[in-house]
Amino acid sequence: MKILVVDDEADVQPLFLQRFRKEIRNHEVEFDFALSGEEALDYLEKKHSEVVLILSDINMPGMSGIELLSHIRHEYDMPPPVVMMITAYGDEENHRQAMQNGADDFLTKPLDFNILKEKLKTFVHNG
């Protein structure tokens, strides 16, 4: 399962790689990273079919996570990738907007990796 993580914080990358060390070693998951919404779209352009799940932050300089989400929903509907949005604590407005734009699920900052792993498992089972 290939997961694209979109976040402007570069340190997210080693964190994910370390958190999912076992899973990556066992080839259960594979991560790719994009530092902005634009970069994520470029990446999808090339490797669209490979990506199963997109995990995106909302507050990013340039294209926001909500914009990215609406691009994905309009341009890549066959097959639609699962998109999870990461919202800041207590940010109701973004949560509502992400819902409207067709996000599949939400995670709140700070990321609880145990919850994320649980969610990924259910996706693997369902997918």
Binding site: E9, D11, L15, Q18, R19, R21, A88, Y89, G90, K109, P110, L111, F113
Partner: protein, 438 residues
């Protein structure tokens, strides 16, 4: 000829008597006037019957003159002076005619008609004068009435202007209070935004700290169960020791990171902009939260400060529709004041004094009663009705704005149709009682 002075005298007496009727002077003068009226009549009849007309003129003239002199001296008859004066020509005319009649009877009979005219003329003169004076007095009275009327109007206008002035002064005072409250609210609002911004910014790096320390703990576990097992026994102990320390350190990082995280979360919660919307709120929880917030605020300023916190919440307290940020601000003000008061008393007494702040809720007759009580310095009687006024503060300059209680009053009374009462004994306790209708 002597008939006219008698008539004039009699009429004068009757007129005065009539004028005195229904005045305080009546009892004093009535008998004298009646008597003198009768005397004049009697004198007229007597002189007509027993004296010849030569003497009668003198009797009549001097009778009238006597009455006039007597009346002239009396203060009570002061206002009749113009009338009295009008009688003198008649006296003069009668006396002069009588003198001429005695000294030169021939001359008198020759000019008889003229003397008669003189006497009659001066008799008429009295009433002409009288009517004239009366008219003048009436005019004067009208002028005086108009003056009084104007006077009243001026007084009314002045009163109205004064009232308007006071109203304007009150309005200015209110505006001034509102302005400062707005500034205060603006300051608080921008402070709130600032803390919200800071909290947000701190949250991201803090997440990394927490996440990396957690993942490092996991890596250490992996290290322990994996590669470490392959080390020679001698090295193993040394490495385990280091890994043990590292694990403890990481736990500490995680622990303190979580602590900072909860503070940031609390800041975000409190700085959420006040919507001014009433929403269902658990008053007990709100009071408890702000009691602790206030207490820790005081502890932050003064490390040595300590107080017993007592809470007595009515478990049947219903969920009330209030503006939680506003009621929270009221709680914060009351608790801050309570802690300030007990800390002042502690400084004064030290020794065995145990500061305590108590908050209790109770459901009474359809309204929720919230009591905030401290055993601090109390509020002196003479300032008790001033403490809700804006800008009134007992704290040293710069330490208080004097707006806390005034804002609280507005929030409770104007915003929530409730009321605030104060009970206090100087040097013993202060208790604020808030009632909010359910």
């Amino acid at each position: 000829m002597y008939f006219f002075p008698f008539l004039a005298a009699y009429l004068l007496i009757r007129r005065i008597q009539k004028a005195f009727k229904n005045t305080p002077l009546y009892p004093k003068w009535n008998r004298l006037l009646s008597a003198s009226g009768l005397a004049v009549l009697a004198l007229f009849i007597v002189s007509g019957l027993y004296f010849n007309h030569k003497v009668n003129g003198f009797i009549a003239g001097f009778t009238l003159l006597g009455i006039l002199f007597y009346a002239n001296k009396e203060d009570d008859l002061k206002m009749y002076k113009p009338l009295l004066k009008a009688h003198f020509p008649l006296v003069v005319a009668v006396l002069l005619s009588s003198v001429v009649l005695i000294i030169a009877p021939d001359f008198y009979s020759q000019w008889d008609n003229y003397f008669g005219f003189a006497v009659f003329g001066s008799f008429i003169w009295i009433y002409a004068r009288w009517a004239n004076t009366k008219k003048q007095q009436q005019e004067l009275k009208i002028v005086a009435d108009q003056k009084d009327e104007l006077e009243i109007m001026v007084t009314e206008r002045t009163a109205e202007i004064n009232r308007q002035k006071e109203e304007l002064q009150d309005t200015i005072k209110e505006l001034r209070a509102t302005q400062v409250q707005l500034i205060q609210q603006e300051k608080l609002a921008s402070l709130g935004e600032l803390t919200a911004g800071i909290a947000h910014e701190i949250q991201n790096p803090l997440n990394f700290v927490n996440n990396f320390s957690e993942v490092s703990t996991e890596l250490l576990d992996e290290l322990k169960t994996g590669p470490l097992e392959k080390l020679p026994e001698a090295e193993k102990e040394y490495a385990t020791e280091i890994i043990q320390d590292l694990t403890v350190n990481l736990e500490k990082i995680t622990h303190h990171g979580k602590r900072a995280d909860s503070i940031v979360k609390a800041m975000l919660q409190h700085s959420r902009t006040s919507t001014g919307q009433k929403e269902p709120t658990d008053i007990n929880a709100l009071a408890d939260e702000y009691l602790r917030l206030s207490y820790h605020g005081c502890r932050a300023k003064d490390k040595s400060f300590n107080a017993q916190l007592v809470t007595n919440f009515d478990p049947t307290t219903p969920i009330l529709k209030v503006v939680p940020q506003d009621i929270g601000r009221v709680f914060l003000n009351l608790f801050n004041n309570a802690f300030y008061s007990v800390s002042e008393k502690k400084k004064e007494l030290n020794g065995s004094y145990e500061p305590a702040v108590e908050v209790s809720t109770i459901l009474l007759n359809g309204s929720l009663e919230i009591r905030v009580k401290d055993n601090g310095t109390g509020i002196p009687e003479h300032i008790r009705d001033k403490i809700m006024q804006p800008f009134f503060t007992t704290k040293p300059t710069g330490a208080g704005t004097g707006l806390g209680l005034s804002l609280s009053y507005d929030i409770i009374v104007k915003g929530h149709e409730g009321k605030i009462d104060i009970k206090s004994n100087e040097g013993e306790f202060t208790e604020f009682i808030i009632c909010i209708p359910v």
